[in-house]
Symmetry: C2
Subunit: 240 residues, 2 copies
């Protein structure tokens, strides 16, 4: 697997947050990712470890929550991520391996992602959990269609587990209502997260897009992810 973080030598390439507006937000783009989609082991290893990292982020927001109501909501959200992780780990066991076996190749790049996307405070951490899990769950749902039929169905069911999106978004909206000045900072942080998150998504592909043709083929997928991200930011009252 190509590690996109370190693709050009050892210096990390900065990526501008894409600012494309989708041509249409209503038509879901159908793109065949089958030959670029990762195989079972790659898919489950990355998907599971990403869910574990999202769980860690959400549970840190529980510990840092300023009110019992926020703790209550966010603990439910953390439980949803944990349930997704555990279901993906169960798929790894079903494939005859231990979760750690499939996740190990991906920990260093995803730990790096976790480090650079850690918020400076509780509000930024909420935005990190909301925005990165939103984009990555969307992407892994798309990738899952490249798995064999039974597994694809079971994985789709895992990602269809009650979302924590509303619970986390609600906390962010309340924080902005309570102090509208934080909106500008959170908008900036939300934009800052996109580049790193899209890199993690790209690195989940089985093979790096190797031609202009490949790039043209996958571009609509990322355009769609950005469109969903923009809607998510809009729903928070933040400019993407």
């Amino acid at each position: 697997v190509v590690n996109w973080f370190w693709r050009k030598g050892t210096k990390r390439k900065r990526v501008e947050a894409p600012r494309l507006r989708p041509r249409s937000e209503d038509v879901a783009t159908k793109v065949d990712l089958a030959d670029l989609a990762p195989h079972r082991e790659q898919f489950l290893g990355q998907a599971a470890y990403i869910q574990l990292v999202i769980f860690e982020g959400l549970s840190a927001t529980v510990a840092g929550a300023p009110t019992l109501e926020a703790k209550e909501s966010l603990s439910t959200a953390a439980g949803v991520s944990l349930a997704k992780y555990q279901a993906l780990a169960a798929e790894i066991r079903r494939a005859g391996a231990e979760p750690g076996d499939f996740m190990a190749p991906y920990t260093s790049s995803i730990d790096f992602f976790q480090r650079v996307t850690t918020g400076a405070d509780w509000h930024e951490s909420l935005v990190t959990s909301h925005i990165t899990s939103g984009i990555l769950d969307d992407f892994f749902v798309k990738l899952a269609s490249g798995l064999h039929d039974d597994l694809a169905k079971r994985v789709a069911a895992i990602y269809a587990i009650d979302s924590h999106e509303d619970l986390v978004a609600q906390q962010i909206r309340e924080a902005i209502d309570a102090d509208p000045k934080v909106a500008a900072r959170l908008a900036l942080w939300g934009r800052r997260l996109v580049g790193d998150t899209i890199l993690v998504a790209r690195s989940a592909l089985a093979a790096a897009p190797s031609s202009a043709n490949d790039e043209a083929r996958i571009e609509p997928v990322f355009t769609e992810l950005i469109a969903s991200h923009t809607r998510r930011m809009d729903a928070l009252g933040l400019t993407a």
Copy 2:
């Protein structure tokens, strides 16, 4: 509710870790705590918030775990605490309240407990999760018998959810095997935790034991908690 931390003026009273050895470890002491046991609201508020704090502690150990195997085990353990918290929160809703309503009176003393029992590193944090949840779960199971019949049964079922005790203990034993020098420090830390944890348990009683007779009546309960604690430390290879 008497707050035992601040019982004597504003200065916190230091409590020596009890070192009593039980006269018999085999005979469970039967003590009627009924008139000292908290009512539904007090019980559920404290039990739920303690479980939430234990969840926070365990999920921090997931984030700090040095290996994927440890992350995997501890995420399961964190899930068990979260499930207990959610079941207790559901009992609060069943009683017609929001979890925060019942938990609010207890947050400052339990947050204080959380602060003073936070480990200095990952190993100490594991011991904190293991030892404090062990003692407090034991105690709340005893207190639950003072609730009305139906609720007592449902609460007993909540505490009977798969325990995370073995998962956390296993991580501690592996750490000690890998570096036997940590054992002395962890034994000291384990002893240090007992006093603070017993204070939280005492403060969960509906009324402070107000006479030598009350004290004599509840003493066997605490002797039994310490006996279980000693067995838990022994199982880790640590001297209590």
